[in-house]
Amino acid sequence: MPQVSAAAPASGQPTLQEAFVAPGDASAIGLVLSQIQRRDDLSLLWVQDRKAMREMGRIYLPGLLEMTECPVIHVAAQDGREALWAMLEGLKCASLGAVIGEIQGDPRALDFTATRRLAVAAERYGVPAFLVRVNGQPNLSGARRRWRVESRPSLSHLYDAKAPGAPVWSLDLFRARDMPPRRWEVSYDRAAHRLDLVPATGDGQVEEDFRRAG
């Protein structure tokens, strides 16, 4: 299976990426975590504003540990303004693995200037930044890559046909500085910690063979 090169541009500069997602859909969180190295001594700074925490729930460590083993600093911000400030402070700390912010809706503080400031800080200090927008409008933004993420029906479970299998996400890169917009359907391979492309028209047998082969 080919690795999604677009989704893992880690060879380039760490920068600000923005992911839009509907409330109650954690696929964007999965995308963000799949972009961060799993085993690392570097801490993650995870900023959630109060509304996002209500819509999407609080981060849950036992679940996170399946995708990343980095220590996490969690900040429960009051509103979008405070969350953006915390993210900007975090980006100045070059010894962080990544800064992840979750903001619900379109707070006034979240404008082009604020996102541009985040992007510049991320590039200057070399800390990847992710802005997860829950229920937000894709207005003008300084983010270098902007995604729309949605859940798709999962792959079939290897041993239980009725159970959900490996998660599948539809990634819509609708704006990027260094590549043309594209769409992918990817599934997350937990063992290898990578994203695999999923054929749009599922060939059940082929898919099964690939998965068995590992």
Binding site: Y60, G63, G90
Partner: protein, 506 residues
């Protein structure tokens, strides 16, 4: 008494004489001469009672503050025998003699040396050496002269001493005497449990009325301290430096905007003081004194010792604007409330500082601005109840870089603080859901995994908490949820089972 005699070139021991102090109930005797003691006067006695026994008693007011200061100076002098010395109460000195006795030719020789030198100073000293503070205290005051007991002889040496020698207050001693326990030996022979039961309530009552501290009212605690069953540290007499930077203004400052340069100067000054002593601060207070007699203070804390002026200034950051200048500030002070040793560090071979800030500085700033109760590090905890499996440790308490990873079945990425109720359509009451409504949106269940049954922790929770059957479900759009059913039908813990949304999978 001896100090007074030295100072005032005193009458000899033959005259009955006492030093007194005044308290709420009249004059009380603090110290007596030998003749007065023979005549019947005692320490702690009222002066009128003593006069009734010994009409010729001469008195002078005592100088307790002077005694205390003198005792502290004497403690310093006592360091000649051991570096770890402390004052003990109003009239005692403690020396930790671990590993120093051989310098003076053995323990007995050392005790004799102490006696001799104090006598040369003009003091009557009673010395004793024992493996515990409590035992040494008892032997020095109630035992023979120059007693020296070791670990083995401790119990027998203490056995014959009166219960007062246990450093307990008069009420507790009286109580023990009333129940017939007059010596430490008798007390030590009692079953520990019985004593604990009897004196626990006494200790509680005392702390409740705030008359005495717990320790002096609890003979059992004191007994165990004396016998070495409870550790008791020596708190040595050491200087405590206060790191504080001050500045005064010629003209009162009325605008908070110009406070920052003042704070920077203060922080530089403070950091120089800290650097000289290789210290770093953990908590700091900025005080601004107003012309009209008001004081305004700001506090800030750090996760690791800090000696960087810029960082200290940043911690106060925007809080400076919250100060109310009123008629203006004319003086400022920056005090290190808590400081720790911090050795000088070289960050690298080249002198260029690394770009950006450290994680601990980041945590300090986040805590200063957003609040220390909002910044946490989640750590795994041993519990199978989902919401209890995470410990939210305040990040101010320091980061744990390598959390232990527990082995758990698959868990969601997200957990709601409060499980949200959902309405569910199911085929069988014990089975998985077919369709559910959450936040007014209908979801058709396509795939299900479960149930995973999680029973309540009965040792922690009430008896009517219901077990939970967790299902991982996927709806028609592919979103994955973590639902649970609270309880089963007829489990006797409430009505029909209810369904809740608890988490989200990626």
């Amino acid at each position: 008494m001896d100090r007074w005699r030295k100072i005032s070139g005193a009458p000899d021991d033959g005259v009955p004489f006492a030093l007194i102090s005044d308290n709420a109930h009249g004059s009380v005797i603090d110290a007596v001469s030998r003749a007065a003691r023979e005549a019947g006067a005692r320490c702690g006695q009222r002066l009128t009672d003593a006069r009734a026994i010994c009409p010729t008693l001469a008195v002078e007011p005592s100088d307790q503050a002077g005694d205390k200061a003198w005792l502290e100076r004497l403690t310093g002098w006592t360091r000649r025998w051991g570096p770890w010395t402390a004052t003990d109460g109003r009239d005692g000195l403690l020396v930790d003699t671990t590993g120093v006795a051989h310098c003076f030719g053995g323990e007995d020789a050392m005790l004799a040396d102490m006696q001799e030198r104090y006598a040369a100073l003009g003091f009557a000293a009673r010395t004793a050496m024992a493996p515990t503070i409590g035992a040494a205290w008892a032997l020095a005051r109630y035992g023979g002269k120059g007693a020296n007991v070791d670990e083995a002889g401790l119990r027998s040496a203490l056995a014959s001493l009166p219960v007062e020698s246990l450093r307990i207050d008069a009420d507790a001693a009286m109580l023990l005497r009333r129940v017939g326990l007059k010596s430490i030996g008798a007390l030590a022979d009692m079953p520990t449990l019985a004593l604990a039961r009897r004196f626990r309530s006494l200790g509680f009552a005392r702390t409740f009325t705030r008359r005495k501290t717990d320790a002096s009212a609890n003979p059992l605690h004191r007994l165990q301290q004396a016998l070495g069953q409870i550790a008791e540290p020596v708190e040595p007499l050491a200087e405590r430096t206060i790191y504080r930077a001050r500045s005064r203004m010629l003209e009162p400052i009325r605008h908070t905007a110009v406070l920052e340069p003042v704070l920077i100067d203060l922080a530089r000054d403070l950091c120089e003081q800290l650097f000289a002593d290789q210290q770093g601060l953990r908590r700091v207070r900025f005080e601004a004194f107003r012309v009209d007699g008001h004081t305004q203070a700001l506090h800030a804390g750090t996760t690791a010792p800090v000696r960087d002026p810029d960082h200290i200034v940043r911690l106060f950051g925007e809080d400076l604007e919250q100060l109310e200048a009123g008629f203006g500030f004319d003086a400022f002070a920056l005090t290190a409330l808590l400081h720790e040793t911090m050795a000088a560090r070289q960050s690298g071979l080249d002198e260029e500082p690394p770009e950006g800030i450290a994680v601990s500085e980041l945590v300090d700033r986040l805590c200063a601005r957003i609040g220390p109760d909002k910044v946490h590090q989640p750590l795994p905890r041993a519990s199978h109840v989902p919401e209890r499996a995470v410990e939210w440790r305040p990040a101010m308490q320091g980061m744990d870089a390598d959390p232990q990873v527990p082995v758990l079945p698959e868990r969601p990425l997200r957990l709601f603080d409060r499980p949200e109720p959902v309405t569910v359509i199911y085929a069988t009451p014990e089975g998985p859901p077919r369709r559910f409504r959450w936040r007014r949106v209908l979801h058709d269940v396509v795939k299900v995994e479960g149930p995973e049954r999680i029973a309540p922790e009965w040792w922690r929770e009430r008896s009517n908490v219901r077990l939970r059957d967790y299902y991982k479900v996927e709806d028609q759009a592919g979103r994955r949820f973590w639902l649970y059913r609270g309880g089963v039908i007829d489990d006797g813990r409430g009505g029909p089972p209810q369904w809740f949304m608890h988490g989200l999978f990626a």
